[in-house]
């Protein structure tokens, strides 16, 4: 020991730093990023049907008294395919799900729904990604919980994983 405590200060500072870094590594990965849109109303929009046989989607549909799950997806998106079973399970639990198909073609979308199932009540076609961007979404898949008055309650970036299903259903029910 040199007897000069100040010499140990750098080591103490570094250990403090390392403690924060350890915390940063250990903390659970939180995908529910609160975007600026959470707490705001869904911006007004009207999207044409994305594929024959399915109705399109307008912001008015989301303010009709019932909470919804709004899923932004695309047939060309691989994680969206992985997410499909979870969406089916959520729809089976009675949660209304509407879709916004981003930069998609009607045939490709029909094929996607045929292959992975169709949990959607309505699907709007967002060819220019304009509604997607207005919602504050930057990629697919992304999912919003919208309450009965059309207010955004939650945003989930990335696919809904099997362990998130119960939590998502609860969030929609709480948004009533």
């Amino acid at each position: 020991m040199s007897g000069r405590p100040i010499l140990w200060a750098p080591l103490v500072a570094f250990i403090l730093l390392a403690a924060f870094l350890t915390y940063g590594l250990a903390k659970p990965d939180d995908t529910n990023i609160t975007s600026k849109m959470v707490g705001a109303a869904v911006p007004p929009f009207r999207l044409p049907p994305a594929t024959p046989g399915m109705p399109g989607l307008a912001s008015a549909d989301l303010a009709a008294g019932k909470p919804h799950l709004v899923n932004i997806f695309a047939s060309w998106c691989v994680p969206c395919a992985a997410e499909a079973p979870q969406l089916r399970a959520i729809a089976d639990a009675g949660v209304p799900i509407v879709g916004i198909a981003v930069r998609d073609r009607p045939e490709a979308l029909a094929d996607f729904l045929h292959r992975y199932g169709n949990p959607y009540a309505r699907i709007g076609s967002d060819n220019a990604s304009q509604v997607q961007m207005a919602l504050g979404s930057s990629g697919v898949p992304e999912t919003f919980v919208v309450d009965g008055r059309g207010m955004i309650r939650r945003q989930t970036i990335g696919p809904i994983n099997p362990q998130d299903v119960a939590d998502t259903i609860a969030a929609v029910q709480a948004a009533r």
Binding site: S2, P10, L11, F14, A18, L21, T22, K27, W76
Partner: protein, 683 residues
């Protein structure tokens, strides 16, 4: 076959690295234990098998050099250097094997399949080898090995004991990173079955800048490991003095030059490639490269004080430890997924834990060694507050303060989340406000320092020497304030300080015989001038940039700054692995001849990504920067146009700084060589 050979070479390199460490410990171990207070103990106490060998390895006798006969008797010690060289060769072979795999697009290798693509141009297949986590880690280890080999082959100033301690330190660092590669980031892992086609390289990285930027930056990052090992060697052998500082200086200088070049090039690359018109965003990854630079800059100056005036001993050691520690912290931040960044590499907590363990061992170990040993280092020479040393100390403190601000700002989101659970991000407003004033002060001290004498300076003559620069500073301040009343405070001060400092920087050449002025003095002048030039560029960019964001239809003309830009049309265009919409912009300054700029909105196929490729017209007094955005539903196109007066000074200044470093390095090495020749002639 190539992959297996590469992996085998890597394993062999790792084993030689272990051998290097064992040898160094074996040579140094007993003597370190036998000499309790070695800075005062006579050299004969350090017995190493035989008294002769002990004397030969002693660092008290400055006449003993590595190639002297006495060392021949210590068998183990003689092995350390060849082992260091062999290790570097093997690792370089492994890296070459990885490059070969990428160039041949061997899709049976996982890393190649994930990052390469046969449609990619050759340059990017080549550079793709380090455009990913595993490959860049292998490059890191390769440079670490090569740096060690360079020390083993080139270092002639160090006494043998300390050379071995330094190579031991280098091996200790290497061992951890070899383990990280081999156990957590194997670049040669196979993929079975091999896919028919690879995924490609992030299109943002498909730019010639990528081929050169990371290797340059890494040479700087990892080059600092040498300074770190020197510091460890000095602490282990308890030899901190001018001789040690003179030996360490060229290595610090070399790493610092590459770091400067890497940051400058990286800034320009981000500026033209990302298409948002900015040259620095305080992104965590940018900060990760800036922090070692700040520490290395401080180290460079304090090592000079130690070399010429035998002062700042403990401080120099501390900075050598901090500089490479910042490289390692940067590596950790970029690769652990702990911070979100535009260009974070591998988001992987498991690798993060491994790296964090390495940080704890190396940085924690070095700091503990520092605390234990540095108290026994004799205090260096004293000096007056007003003196060249005094200015260098102030410069050091300011650099360290800036480093602290950047470090805290980078980690602040993490700290806040740990304490209060809220997520937030720290952006340019914090950094600009916090760093700006300190940086200006730093530049002022930088300009004044070289005009002071070593040890003590009288205030009156100093003020006389500083008068011209100060007068210019004030003149520019007043003139700008009157001519451009709207200018912000920081840019205003920035321009004035830049002008004053530019004059002060070249003042050391005043009334000197320029041909007989030593090259390293030229180096200092050029580097300091470069800082002033870069500062002027930054201030101009933030004060005078004009931005226009328009939705333009074909045929429309928009003015931005002194330019009128006619949107002549949009045509499809194809590259080797992308398709693009290419705008033709007819740009004209006043009544001059038109020039054509062609910014592109690109869509890459593999992986599918959209990028915008800016088109820039560079003229003497600035740049016209154009970006083509999306097409709106009504058929008009988004155009972003910037007129940026004198923005190029930022990177020109950066290049001058690096050039100054290079001049200083050449000057120092040349003087060394001449001194050795003279010695040999006398002998």
């Amino acid at each position: 076959m190539i992959a297996e050979a590469g992996l085998a070479a890597l394993w062999l390199g790792a084993m030689l690295c272990a051998l290097q460490l064992v040898l160094a410990v074996a040579v140094l171990g007993p003597s370190s234990r036998n000499s309790p207070s070695s800075s005062t103990s006579p050299s004969s106490k350090r017995t190493l098998g035989s008294p002769a060998a002990g004397a030969a390895l002693s660092s008290r006798d400055p006449s003993v050099r590595w190639d002297d006969e006495g060392v021949e008797e210590v068998g183990l010690a003689r092995l350390v250097q060849p082992v260091a060289v062999a290790q570097a060769v093997l690792t370089a072979l492994a890296f070459a094997a990885l490059i070969a795999l990428f160039v041949r697009v061997d899709l049976s290798v996982l890393l190649v399949a994930e990052n390469d693509n046969s449609e990619k141009p050759l340059l990017y297949r080549f550079a793709g080898a380090w455009g990913n986590h595993e490959g860049s880690m292998l490059m890191w280890v390769t440079i670490l090995g090569l740096a060690g080999a360079a020390v083993a082959l080139l270092e002639r100033r160090l006494v043998p004991r300390m050379l071995i301690a330094t190579l031991g330190g280098q091996a200790a660092i290497g061992l951890g990173f070899y383990a990280f590669l081999l156990f957590a980031s194997n670049p040669f892992a196979r993929l079975d079955p091999a896919p028919p086609e690879g995924r490609g390289l992030n299109p943002l990285l498909q730019d010639p800048g990528l081929a050169f930027h990371p290797p340059t930056l890494y040479l700087g990052y990892v080059g600092l490991s040498v300074a770190f090992s020197f510091a460890i060697g000095a602490l282990v052998t308890r030899e901190v003095g001018p001789a040690f500082a003179r030996a360490m200086r060229p290595w610090v200088l070399g790493a610092w030059i590459f770091l400067t070049l890497g940051i400058t090039a990286g800034s320009y690359w981000a500026y033209y490639e990302l298409g948002w018109g900015g040259w620095w965003f305080w992104d965590p990854v940018e900060n990760a490269s800036l922090m070692p630079w700040l520490a290395a800059t401080a180290l460079l100056h304090s090592v000079t004080v130690l070399a010429t005036r035998d002062g700042l001993r403990a401080w120099t050691i501390m900075l050598a430890v901090v500089a490479f520690s910042m490289s390692m912290v940067g590596t950790f931040l970029v690769r652990s997924g702990i911070l979100t960044s535009v260009h974070a590499f591998a988001v992987d907590p498991r690798r993060g834990s491994f790296l964090l363990a390495l940080l704890l061992i190396y940085i924690g170990g070095a700091l503990a060694l520092f605390a234990l040993r540095v108290g026994t280092v004799r205090e260096g020479n004293r000096f007056d507050a007003v003196s060249r040393e005094g200015a260098l100390v102030v410069n050091n403190l300011l650099l360290t303060a800036v480093l602290g601000i950047v470090l805290v700002g980078t980690l602040y989101p993490l700290i806040v989340e740990a304490v209060s659970g809220t997520k937030l991000s720290v952006g340019p407003p914090y950094f600009n406000a916090a760093v700006g004033p300190l940086a200006l002060l730093l530049v002022i001290v930088m300009g004044a320092g070289p005009l002071m004498r070593w040890r003590r300076e009288d205030v009156a003559p100093l003020l006389r020497r500083l008068a011209p620069a100060a007068a210019l500073l004030v003149a520019v301040l007043v003139a700008l304030r009157l001519l451009v009343p709207s200018i912000g405070l920081l840019p205003l001060l920035g321009l004035a300080v830049a002008a004053g400092t530019a004059v002060a920087s070249v003042a050391p050449l005043w009334r000197r015989n320029l041909l007989r002025t030593p090259l390293f003095t030229w180096g200092m002048v050029v580097a300091h001038l470069g800082i002033a030039v870069a500062l002027a560029g930054m201030a101009c960019d933030s004060a005078f940039t004009v931005e226009r964001l328009v939705a333009a239809s074909v045929g429309q003309t928009v003015t931005v700054g002194p330019y009128s830009v006619r949107f002549a049309g949009v045509d499809p265009s194809f590259g080797e692995n992308y398709e693009a919409m290419e705008a033709t912009l007819e740009v004209r300054r006043g009544q001059g001849d038109p020039a054509f700029l062609r910014p592109q909105a690109r869509a890459y196929w593999s992986p599918p990504t959209e990028t915008s490729e800016s088109a820039i017209r560079t003229v003497l007094d600035g740049q016209l920067y154009t970006v083509l955005g999306k097409q709106a539903d009504d058929g008009r196109w988004q155009l972003r146009l910037w007129w940026k007066p004198f923005v190029t000074l930022i990177w020109f200044g950066g290049a001058l700084v690096a050039l100054g470093g290079a001049l200083a390095l050449v000057g120092r090495v040349a003087r060394d060589v001449r001194a050795r020749r003279r010695e040999a002639a006398f002998a």
